[in-house]
Amino acid sequence: MESVPQERLFGNNAAWNQGGVMGTIDDYAANYKVLITCIAARIPVILWGPPGQGKTSVIKQIAADQKRHLEVILASIREPQDFAGLPMLSNGVASLMPPDWAKRLAEVDNGILFTDEVNTAPPSVQAALLRVCLDKVAGDCHLGDDTSVIAAANPPEQAADGWDLAPPLANRFCHLNWDLPAEVVRDGLAGNWVSYSIQAPDPEQLINALNAERAALSGFLASRPDLTTVIPKSATEQGRAFPTPRSWEMVAILSGWITACNLDSSVRRIAVLGCVGPGPAAEYITYRENIDLPNPEEILANPKDFVLPNRMDKIYVVGASLMAAIRYKMTLERWNAVGIVLERMATSGHPDLAVTFARDWLRERPKGAMPEKSLLRSLIPLLTEAKMI
């Protein structure tokens, strides 16, 4: 066989795959809604993208929609004292004078601070910025916990003098990739820049959603403790999203808000991915998807009461969990219970799912066990068709 690079067969999937990378207007909508949610939930958010993607105008739009005061600062043309405060000697005492924008943010409720080009600012400016982003403190002035912090950065390979974010700073943000899809630009130039908004959640619903999300997350981390903290090896990856207790906490808050605001699962996927990175995000979302499925032990105890989920992939998950359960502890009774579930699958329009599991189920039957005739009758046509008997 000639050596054709395999990954090329599927084309430039790498760029397509990385969840947050925008391709279509749907991806743009999802990223946009995550941004709104982050601002509303006071989760610091950073937008990665080349210059000229309309980041500033989107944020102005959101600030106007939420009726909040916005300060826009370009970090790359600022000096450290613009963020850390200007040292002033007065009567032998040095104090740090806050800049005007910090005063304004401290005076209003629910302000928004947007710092652009954070990764092209000189190192001392970045260091000063850290405290603003992390503690919401500029000089001697506290901006207030109701302030939302947004940052924007150019990917290091696109900015001549840009570099990776320091891991402690990176880990405080939800990371979003911000490239305008061609569709959005096309419509925008025709005078129709799309914008999105979300409904403010009902406070009680929000609290319930946040509690439910924390419970789900702690269940997930109990089953995957190795994902609690994963520090990536390379500096570039450390400058993006990775799992730590803090970023999982951000996941719980954002995902709770997304539930309370009735946003769809593409928004959740990108929000979780932006906090903890693709691998852990996919695992958590799969866990979350299947959290409401019945416990296999309960089904085995009362197989006749079991109601099939209405989605085929969920039935598949249930079937796989049942097979795992009887393999863990095999008795005649448990084996027969699975037979009842398989028959239900076969007779309610999913004989192919039943056969998928029946193959192993028949092969692994305990001594003296015989499948019910009615089950076999429902499976045989398909087993024959697939040449499995």
Partner: protein, 424 residues
């Protein structure tokens, strides 16, 4: 045909599609979630098989009855791979005329069929579209689907008379909804929404990675494994990583163009207001630092690799404006001939002899003795070497580029480590 025969064919055909799905699932169990999410719908209007944007799979009962379950299973996997590859959204993103979806379909099909052929999947009597069928378009196997598509379109524009409609896999590959498609909210077979499809794809990718971990990576098509890795464990290209490490080293080494409070600002005298005085920082831009590159010449690194690597470093150095140039130190168990790199062209004429044992420590010590002292040392090695405990005096940063994954652990923790991965 009488109604009774039609019903009989209809039932047999549905059974055959289900059987094919079971066979497909047993071949590639990691696609289970996706395969069982395809809703199967009979249609008299499709010629073979087709999938729509909502992952409903339509089949022609006459066609499926002519296929064996094994061959049909291969076709089901073909349709599933359209779903994996997001051919629909990718075509939409290209913003091409909708009627050209047939060309896009061909471009997607050849890639998918090659994966299936590589896995020795049976096709029965059916002749799938292969690269050899597209030879007149000058399509190459290593092209991306997008590239193949544009190559075909270019040919069509030049020879419009030769273009005849190819097979159509349905709206999963883009274009407008087909006439036979059922409503998106059909109560028996509702469409799967695109956000749910993303979640399913994520799950398939996890299943692929788990399968590869348990059964070994040789047990599945390499392209699927790569797809899953790209999706869930994206690797940063080493060039990006190196450029990033280099920039941050340059930026932190002596604070290239930065503000300092250790020297008074030139405008300080104007900063008095009554009894108050503002303290301004001054700007400082030290001379660009010298850089030394130590190259492991113990034999495990190919000359090609070294050339690629050096051009990368030279490019970064140029971009960051280091006038001092770069010193190259070949090193095996002893230090070789130290040479200064003054231009990109000089890279190919470097003399890199070696072949003995390996000790990067002596190279690092030699770099420390250069005048002016290099602020940044870059080491290119496979990593099977002893390392010093600290950097030589005056050197501020070290970037280690490793060609072997296992060496990431043994290289010193205070160095910036980058794994150079071969493109396959």
């Amino acid at each position: 045909m009488s109604t009774a025969t039609a019903v009989a064919i209809s039932e047999d055909a549905r059974l055959r599609v289900m059987a094919a799905r079971i066979v497909a699932q047993s071949r590639w169990p990691y696609l289970s979630t996706l395969l069982f999410n395809l809703k199967i719908v009979e249609s008299q209007q499709v010629g073979t098989l087709a999938v729509d944007e909502g992952w409903r799979m339509y089949y022609s009962p006459e066609f499926v009855m002519e296929q064996t379950p094994e061959a049909l299973a291969t076709m089901v996997l073909h349709e599933a791979l359209h779903c994996v590859n997001q051919h629909g959204p990718r075509f939409r993103a290209l913003a091409q005329p909708a009627e050209l979806h047939v060309a896009w379909n061909s471009a997607g099909d050849v890639g998918i069929n090659r994966v299936l052929d590589d896995a020795h999947m049976p096709w029965g009597g059916f002749e799938p579209l292969r690269f050899k069928n597209l030879s007149k378009f000058q399509v190459q196997a290593e092209m991306s689907t997008e590239k193949i598509y544009f190559t075909i379109v270019e040919y069509i524009n030049q020879h419009p008379e030769e273009f005849k409609s190819q097979s159509d896999c349905g709206s999963i590959v883009g274009g407008k909804a087909r006439g036979y498609e059922i409503a998106r909210n059909n109560s028996d077979n509702p469409a799967i929404k695109s956000d749910q499809q993303d979640v399913i794809r994520d799950q398939v990718a996890q299943d692929i990675l788990n399968f590869a971990r348990v059964k070994g990576i040789g047990t599945m098509p390499g392209s699927l494994l790569r797809w899953a890795q790209d999706l869930l464990e994206p690797k940063v290209d080493w060039r990006k990583a190196l450029a990033g490490a280099f920039r941050s080293s340059l930026a932190t080494v002596l604070g290239r163009r930065d503000y300092v409070y250790t020297r008074p600002s030139r405008r300080q005298s104007a900063m008095k207001m009554g009894s108050h005085e503002f303290i301004l920082p001054s700007m400082r831009k030290p001379a660009p630092p010298a850089i030394a590159i130590i190259i492991d010449t113990s034999g495990s690194i190919s000359p090609d690799e070294i050339t690629v690597f050096l051009s990368e470093v030279d490019g970064i150095v140029k971009a960051n404006g280091i006038s001092q140039g770069v010193t190259v130190i070949p090193c095996d168990a002893a230090v070789g001939e130290i040479q200064k790199l003054r231009s990109r062209g000089a890279i190919t004429s470097l003399r890199l002899q070696g072949g003995g044992g390996t000790d990067m420590g002596v190279g690092i010590t030699a770099a420390g003795k250069l005048r002016p002292t290099p602020k940044i040392i870059v080491v290119l090695t496979d990593g099977y070497t002893p390392w010093p405990d600290t950097l030589p005096k005056g050197v501020e940063s070290m970037i280690v580029c490793l060609t072997v994954n296992d060496s990431l652990e043994t290289a010193p923790s205070w160095a910036k480590k980058i794994l150079i991965e071969e493109e396959q």
